[in-house]
Symmetry: C2
DNA sequence: TAAATACTGAACCATATGGTTCAGTATAAT
DNA sequence: ATTATACTGAACCATATGGTTCAGTATTTA
């Protein structure tokens, strides 16, 4: 198991598991914002918001730059491509299994039809 | 911190934030498995694996059924459609911002060209 | 009937998480 | 030169998480 990738996924899914952080991502999609802006918007202390931003930054989902007193936050380089791909892969596995079930049912149905025909003869 | 308002998203992204649980999902994509099967595969106690399965079940990603002594786990009904959609929406927001940046650059480029033409006159 | 198997729940442990307050530092505004 | 603003870091708190062991219960199997 490649630890690097594992921890990256861990970090990004963990970052997304909090409603406030998802909200921050959406917000930053609309406009860049300072820590103060975000803290006010989400009714939280500066320190609290700083922590959330750090988590998002750690996961590569947000980047920040401090100019003077103000730290401005914006959407980061990472666009969750790999996470989307993982989910897509999971959904394909699921579909594969579902299709397998379908074909079993199909088979049973065919068998029943055949039995029906045999009976009728 | 009582999490009385824990959303579906919180639960499913949190479920995905652990490498073992992602592994279990992949495994169950290949074949149904008992708690014992999974515990062995992931080198963990039965009790530990039971907890992971419970988390996945809580998030609707896995369903289980106990027949006799054996609890069989399989992929659940939920296929992370909404989670995939959320990520897709985030990526569109990101793209929108990126495109905005592009058009600023485009504008600057045009301006430079114009300046160039002016200079050359 | 006795022994092995498969799970389950309670209790415990260490660390992580999401929040706070408080006491700073650096920068901007007056 | 003061004062207000914006952030930062340390310390603290309550609960969550990821794991364990131990002591069961229920179900097969011999």
């Amino acid at each position: 198991m490649v630890q690097y990738n594992q921890t990256r996924f861990d970090a990004s899914f963990a970052a997304l598991s909090d409603a406030t952080r998802r909200g921050v991502l959406v917000q930053l999609g609309l406009a860049d914002a300072s820590i103060t802006d975000l803290a006010q918007k989400f009714h939280m202390t500066l320190t609290g918001m700083k922590k959330h931003v750090s988590v998002l930054e750690q996961a590569g989902l947000v980047t920040t730059e401090k100019v003077g007193r103000v730290r401005t936050c914006k959407l980061g380089q990472r666009r969750l491509e790999e996470e989307a791909a993982w989910i897509e892969n999971y959904r394909q596995l699921w579909s594969a299994r579902f299709d397998a079930l379908d074909s079993v049912i199909e088979e049973l149905t065919q068998k029943e039809k055949a039995d029906g025909r045999r009976k009728r003869k």
